[in-house]
């Protein structure tokens, strides 16, 4: 097992652990912090896959901007563990069971696939490759995907207008 593989396992464990902690934490602020940890772990995965640009964007946009927004809102509302309302136990159990069934079935699919490709699995290349770097991505983004890129700005504009209109006091 190479260092990349070891890193993969560590990051995976971290990701899943912090994801679970989001649900388990009673205090919304802690949840946000665990989510940020999850994002960092996912960014770690991106780096492992040599998708450096996405890793950076993930940290800047998600962990940086979006999560800060969440924190602002939570603090604005002054939410904490005491204000947290709880679902009744049966609903929780039903949710966990159905989510668990979904996981189980999906994992089973993956396992069947893995057994069928045993010995010659398709590999996600770690640590090498240029497609995740800023230069090739930028080239593609500003040539082939120039129109969607520009359309994104319109999306942002409309989202901004929307947020302002919704947030305005009647």
């Amino acid at each position: 097992m190479g260092i990349a593989a070891i890193l993969f396992w560590i990051l995976s464990a971290l990701t899943i652990f912090s994801a679970i902690m989001i649900l388990v934490s009673k205090n919304p602020v802690h949840s946000v912090l665990w989510l940020i940890a999850t994002f960092f772990a996912i960014s770690g995965h991106y780096i492992l896959l040599n998708a450096q640009f996405l890793a950076i964007v993930n940290i800047i946009v998600y962990a940086g901007a979006i999560m800060v927004l969440f924190l602002f809102v939570i603090m604005l509302m002054n939410l904490d563990a005491r204000t947290e309302t709880r679902k009744n136990l049966w609903m929780k159990l039903a949710g966990v069971i159905s989510g668990g069934m979904l996981l189980w079935i999906l994992i089973s699919v993956v396992r069947t696939y893995a057994e069928q490709t045993k010995g010659h699995p398709d590999m996600a290349v770690l640590n090498t490759g240029t497609i995740g770097l800023i230069k090739p991505l930028g080239k593609v983004l500003f040539t082939q995907y120039a129109l969607p890129f520009e359309l994104c700005s319109i999306l942002f504009l409309s989202a901004m207008v929307g947020a302002v209109v919704i947030g305005k006091k009647n």
Binding site: K87, M91, A94, G95, S98, G99, M101, L102, I105, L106, S108, V109, T112, Y113, Q116, T117, D122
Partner: protein, 640 residues
């Protein structure tokens, strides 16, 4: 000659013109169109007849009527000797009756007058289709068409409920027969895959039928014939069909439509020759009908009813002829019967016309001096139907009876009995109508008159035909090879095996003599008995009461079939329909209502609940699709 299609086309055109422009056309125009197309058809038929005589028989195919995969039914006309005889009868007698109608129906309003002629033309068209079709399907179209026209014309005065019931009865009775006919067609089709005569009636095709097949098919076809040709047990509609205008009775219910069954059996004689059992049945039913209907006619007072039962009885003779294998004789009788029975009906129509709608002969009498032409022609027709030599009925009936004797003497004796009945009732009604003193009201007595020329001329022509038509079929004992009709028809019936038993000339002479003497004796008796008929208030008793009530057949049918069916229908309507069917329908509605009320509760409005459902459904979907390995195929497809 390729103009064969014009023969039925003319009446169709006449029907369309009279039917579509009935509100615009005057009565004169309608008569001209209605009679003109028929005359044109008649002339064409004559041309066709001579063409066939010169050897122009054959099948004319026009287009594919049904063409699905290898199943093909062409729209084709069979133009041969048998068809030619029927064509001449239909268009010839039809023309005369059309001309007669133009005077007889004069009192109708122009619109209804045109409607009448439109129906009549449509009828002739259907009838021509029936006899000209080169396969059973075209025949069936005509078969149904004449049934429809019969219904329309019986119920021509549709404001009278009784007439409508009579029309409905005729239609339903015909439908029962048609079912048999249809089943036979499907049977033939499933066995051989063709309905065309010239393909079907070949030794190869006929060999495809087993003995049971042939018997069943011929019996089913015969069921169709009993419906259309009013034989026991489906004959009761014909007497009721007299509700229609009298010329209609003459054309449809005496001369042409009712002979469709005979035509059909004569046309499929090869099938019947393979089914001796069916032939026996036909002969028995034929002779039974002949005697039974004649016995009813003995005690009827309504002049048209007598003629109706007489028609049923004469049709019985034709079936007797068919049953004993005398196909030529049956067709011969169809022809002579068409003449004298049309004449009788038209004469009766003339009498009814003069009597202002009175049909009961008890209130007639002494019309001899008021209506000479009608009287003479009616008398000639009576002599013809009674079978007095040398009138036409003698030859045709004698031919059938001789063939019956050759087959079984019992059939012959019964046939002679029927013939004696015929002579008796015909002269009874003749004497009651034309002899003695007038028994009607004063008003009617003033009104009595001979009918207009348009009516008497057809009567005279038919009378001449009724007298001389018999000479077309002079038996071999008088002069060898003088049977013109048989010679003419021989190409059609030549494929039949020759009759095994032929009568010696001596026997034949004797039979003829016996019949003639008996018939003449009966005529004299009936003449004597009814020449001075007086109305009596005396109730009829015993057998004559039974006969006057037509053996109570209608009542028996009502009791045995109609009422149970009605009761059963009521049971279905009130019990099955209301409880079961409605119960199911309402139950479905109630179940849906109830279950929706319950399912409504699932819509809690809780978003969480909805998402839970969504996830569970996802799981279910995954399980289903994964088991079907779609997912795996999909993944493989991605990473291929």
């Amino acid at each position: 000659m390729n103009l064969a299609y014009l023969v039925p086309l003319f009446p169709l055109v006449g029907f369309l013109i009279n039917g579509l422009f009935r509100k615009q056309l005057s009565k004169q125009a309608v008569s001209v169109v209605g009679c003109g197309v028929l005359l044109a058809s008649f002339i064409l038929s004559l041309v066709l007849f001579f063409d066939i005589k010169a050897g122009g028989a054959g099948v004319r195919t026009y287009f594919d009527f049904i063409n699905v995969a290898d199943f093909k039914i062409p729209f084709a006309f069979q133009v041969d000797q048998l068809t030619a005889v029927f064509l001449l009868i239909i268009t010839g007698v039809g023309s005369l009756i059309h001309i007669y109608s133009s005077a007889y129906m004069q009192e109708e309003t122009p619109q209804h007058f045109a409607r009448y002629f439109a129906y009549l033309n449509l009828f002739v068209f259907s009838m021509l289709l029936l006899v000209m079709g080169a396969n059973f399907l075209i025949m069936f179209i005509g078969w149904e068409g004449v049934g429809l026209c019969s219904y329309l014309l019986i119920g021509y005065w549709f404001k009278n409920d009784t007439f409508n019931y009579a029309a409905r009865k005729a239609f339903v009775m015909n439908r029962i027969g048609d079912l048999g006919f249809l089943i036979a067609l499907f049977w033939i089709l499933s066995k051989t895959g063709t309905l065309s005569y010239h393909e079907l009636f070949t030794p190869d095709m006929l060999a495809k039928f087993s003995r049971a097949d042939v018997t069943a098919i011929t019996l089913l076809l015969f069921v169709g014939a009993t419906g259309k040709s009013a034989q026991i047990p489906l004959y009761t509609w014909l007497p009721d069909a007299m509700a229609g205008p009298t010329p209609v009775s003459a054309l449809i219910h005496a001369a042409t439509m009712v002979t469709a069954g005979i035509y059909m059996i004569a046309r499929s004689h090869l099938l019947y020759s393979l089914a001796p059992f069916t032939n026996e049945i036909i002969a028995i039913i034929g002779v039974a009908t002949a005697v039974f209907a004649a016995s009813i006619a003995l005690r009827q007072n309504d002049i048209k009813k007598v003629l109706a039962y007489s028609t049923v009885s004469q049709l019985g003779y034709m079936f007797l002829g068919l049953g004993v294998g005398a196909y030529g004789g049956a067709v011969f009788h169809v022809m002579t019967h068409a003449f004298f029975k049309a004449l009788l009906f038209l004469g009766a129509g003339s009498v009814i016309h003069a009597m202002g709608g009175q049909q009961d002969s008890r209130f007639m009498g002494g019309l001899k001096k008021f209506m000479p032409v009608t009287h003479i022609t009616f008398l000639l027709a009576c002599l013809a139907i009674a079978g007095v030599p040398p009138f036409s009925g003698f030859f045709s009936k004698d031919e059938i009876l001789a063939a019956a004797y050759a087959s079984s003497p019992v059939l012959y004796y019964l046939g002679v009995l029927g013939a004696l009945f015929t002579a008796f009732y015909m002269f009874r009604i003749y004497a009651m109508t034309f002899l003695g003193k007038f028994r009607g009201t004063q008003e009617q007595a003033h009104h009595l008159h001979e009918s207009p020329k348009a009516m008497t001329i057809p009567l005279s022509i038919l009378a001449v035909l009724a007298v001389i038509a018999g000479f077309l079929g002079i038996p071999a004992i008088f002069a060898p090879h003088a049977h013109l009709l048989e010679n003419f028809l021989s190409p059609v019936f030549s494929d039949l095996p020759a009759a095994s038993e032929t009568l010696s000339h001596q026997t034949e002479w004797m039979l003829m003599l016996v019949t003639t003497v008996l018939v003449i004796a009966t005529i004299i008796w009936a003449w004597k008995k009814y020449a001075d008929y007086q109305k009596s208030e005396q109730q009829e008793t015993g057998l004559s009461k039974v006969l006057a009530n037509k053996w109570y057949v209608d009542e028996i049918y009502d009791g045995l079939i109609v009422n149970p069916v009605m009761k059963f229908s009521n049971f279905l309507k009130n019990v099955i329909d209301k409880t079961f069917i409605d119960g199911i329908v309402n139950g479905v509605g109630r179940f849906v209502q109830y279950s929706s009320r319950q399912i409504r509760l699932v819509q809690s409005g809780q978003v969480g609940g909805y998402i839970l459902m969504m996830v569970l459904s996802l799981v279910v979907l995954f399980v289903i699709f994964w088991n079907q390995a779609y997912i795996l195929t999909f993944i493989h497809w991605i990473f291929k």
